[in-house]
Amino acid sequence: MVIIEGLSKVFDHGTTNEKLALDNINLSLGTGEFVTVIGGNGAGKSTLLNCIAGVFEIDTGRIMLGNKDMTYWPEYKRSRHIGRVFQDPLQGTAFDMTIEENLAIAYAKGKPQGLRRGINKADLQKFRERLSLLDLGLEDRMKQKVGTLSGGQRQALTLLMATMVEPQLLLLDEHTAALDPGMAKKVISLTGEMVEQYHLCTLMVTHNMKAALEYGSRTIMMHEGRIIMDITGRERETMTVELLIKQFGSRSGTELDNDRLLLS
């Protein structure tokens, strides 16, 4: 479903700050595969997601989605097949527009824009149904501006918007890191439900080691722009957080230094 071949990315090329952010990454995800990504600060996790999404141009390599070679596609064009949720809850929604207007933009993804009415009756019914899945009471507040929602509510809404038109790939970039523990739990379990329901091919960067092992079917660990561990099946089932940290130490030769890392 997703094939990444020889992907490299250098920041500040030719300056004293030159940094090899991604070093020859090879990764392929099967249909419906849910992969969690962990690693220390500056390991290249977010850069990898941003390269796939088209936010950054890549230096070498190839990115395929389905049978499409997206390597040279602009970000907005890739977005028609990719759903994204960001770490910052402010990044995924338009704060000065209402909940229903935000959903309408998400629902129009990949369709011609045009001068048709932004929202019709059938849309409202669909939005109401989808919002009630979140169990946050947002279905009764559809005319309210998104700016009045809490970070967690906005993040749940962003998740809904990212999957409104079923994407071929879902990219989640530490999307619960900025939330309080209760809301983080809620959003991550919603994520699990949605991915399972639609059988979505998903890459989830997380700072929560436990969640990394609990959700999905495969876990990769990154360090200095490379994938240093890739576990699945039996090996992953028997993996514990303690073992994971130990493995990291032996494979990278350093201590895990993600300052936001949650071990429990």
Binding site: E75, S79, D96, A108, L115
Partner: protein
């Protein structure tokens, strides 16, 4: 204020309100501080005057509008494709337009339209003749208000509004923000140019310098409207901008009546906008000093 002065400021307010809607579209909806306005306003007026002299006042408005939208497109392209900062892109186009406007005007700095047929002549001989200068701009303004409101409620309108809020989100939802900015800037400057075109025929002349500070007047109208008439819904915001423009003209009329020299007008406009923009910070600082003084008072007392 005399009734004549009152009526005059309402008429001018209505014409400037069209420009203010354009400024609202770029500054507020797209979050793009667009200085093209000072140039595209005159572009509209230049086309209007030249076509008026040739006996086509209505085409003067239409071509003025089209030329304005072209100017807006260039500013948008400078920003989106060549990544020039919005302010600078606007300034560059504004500067370039000065030469273009002079060319359109046949290298004259001023074109008088005295005794020319204008759009305001169209009601001559009817019962409404005396109110032509109020009714024609008002009709155009109301039509534009409805069209703009309906447009901002379409799918494309949603994307355009969201671009100003959060361009990253719009791209993540599969919409090319370069396109939404282009469409928004074209629309914005076409409104501005239409306003200039109408003003030219209303005041019976076009002057190469008539656009100076236009963006500040537009912004003043937007801010006055927002503060006094509110921002709770989209329709209310649009109406607030229009009322803000009319109110601004009234304030100016009163100031002139009270003996302010007309040459001070721009200084007053600039001061007004600076004050309005600084209001939230001034309020915050005032509150801080109030707390500080209160705290020191307690210390001294104890």
């Amino acid at each position: 204020m005399s009734f004549l002065a009152f009526q005059g400021s309402i008429e001018l307010g209505i014409i400037y309100a069209i420009m203010a809607l354009g400024v609202f579209l770029s500054f507020r909806t797209l979050n793009f501080p667009d200085l093209t306005v000072d140039g595209s306003f005159v572009t509209g007026a230049a086309f209007s005057a030249v076509l008026c002299i040739n006996g086509h006042p209505v085409w003067g408005l239409v071509l003025g509008l089209v030329a304005g939208s072209a100017a807006g497109c260039i500013t948008a392209l400078l920003h989106t494709k060549l990544e020039i900062q919005p302010l600078l892109a606007g300034i560059l186009v504004m500067l370039g337009l000065y030469s273009i406007n002079l060319k359109v005007m046949g290298t004259r700095a001023n074109i008088p339209l005295v005794n020319q047929t204008t759009v305001f002549s169209s009601l001559e001989g009817t019962a409404l003749e005396a109110y032509a200068q109020l009714l024609i701009p008002l009709g155009i303004l109301l039509a534009l208000l409805i069209l703009l409101f309906l447009f901002l409620k379409t799918k494309l309108g949603f994307s355009l509004r969201a671009t100003g809020d959060n361009a990253q989100m719009v791209r993540a939802l599969g919409v090319n923000t370069d396109t939404t900015i282009l469409i928004g800037m074209a629309l914005s400057n076409s409104l501005v140019a239409l306003s200039g075109a109408l003003l030219s025929q209303y005041q019976s002349f076009t002057d190469i310098g008539m656009g100076i500070g236009m963006v500040v007047i537009g912004l003043a109208s937007v801010i006055i409207g927002e503060v006094i008439f509110g921002t709770s819904s989209l329709l209310r915001r649009l109406i607030a901008v229009i009322l803000g423009a009319v109110l601004y003209r009234m304030i100016i009329a009163v100031a002139l009546e009270m003996g302010m020299p007309a040459t001070d007008l721009k200084l007053v406009s600039a001061t007004l906008v600076a004050l309005a923009l600084a209001m939230p910070i001034i309020k915050k600082k005032a509150l801080f000093y109030k707390r500080k003084i209160a705290a020191q008072g307690i210390k001294r007392g104890g």
